[in-house]
Symmetry: C2
Subunit: 152 residues, 2 copies
Amino acid sequence: MASPRWLDPEEQAAWRAYLLSNQLLDEALDRQLQRDAGMPHAYYWILVALSEAPERTLRMSDLARRLRYSQSRLTHAVTSMERRGWVTRDRCPSDGRSLLASLTPEGMEILVDSAPGHVEEVRSRVFDRLTPEQVTQLKEICQAVLDGLDPL
Amino acid sequence: MASPRWLDPEEQAAWRAYLLSNQLLDEALDRQLQRDAGMPHAYYWILVALSEAPERTLRMSDLARRLRYSQSRLTHAVTSMERRGWVTRDRCPSDGRSLLASLTPEGMEILVDSAPGHVEEVRSRVFDRLTPEQVTQLKEICQAVLDGLDPL
DNA sequence: TCAATTTAATTGAACTCTCAACTACCCGTA
DNA sequence: TACGGGTAGTTGAGAGTTCAATTAAATTGA
């Protein structure tokens, strides 16, 4: 077994800063959404994805693919969102295996109501603290990581 | 209520790339550690923090502060790690409220065994895909975010 | 045609984390 | 001494996620 390629000091510093800022940022975002809209961050993006789809409707598996959520995770989440009246699930006419998840007016309303506060949180926590150059750098860094991580 | 300061297209792109790369990266790291060492990512950092402390021992509350974990989260995690024999908890002689968490030889061994594989995962997923300039940019971006997020 | 495979989705158990409630101990002060 | 406030830590319930197993429908190919 080859000797491990340890991180050099600069990489260490970057990695620890990354892990810590992520942890705190995720917690902050989750807390804000939980407090103001009673939902976890993952549900917010399900609402966003459905709101952007034609007819505000997507097959469960397409929704899972877009958000890169496991089917199981999505099923559990949508089950909970359906109980709240934000989403409905109906059999797909053209494929008996599929279910079509649709955003209800109530779900759309929740999204419209919560989006401004959530965006403000993201802005104040992240983008207000970065220069335009840093925003572009961040995008490029994340895309570079994604290239090795996201097989479509 | 003022009109929301929405994200511009470049910020949107950066934000979606960030969220996606994070999600996939976290999942990849958790899966790797779960598969190879049977522990979640959070436990790995508890082992690291203890291994770096004098006597490989820290008060629970100091450990929580360092890792920025809630006390409850830490208690639950350490309870599980204690059951596995990786950590012990003993009353602090100088303060009857405190508990001292110590890394056992078994815990140290798990860390030593799992670190190379984990670092290799981090390297291949992240640092192998970034230029040295990007590593520095990432560090600075995360520190800027941390400045607004991390009291202390 | 029909068995085998693949795809869509759900289910339930196990696990981690959050949040609120609680116990226990320390310390300052009257 | 004893009260009160603050600190350290645990507990248990509830919620979300993962993983493996399961059901059901579509597709493939001999």
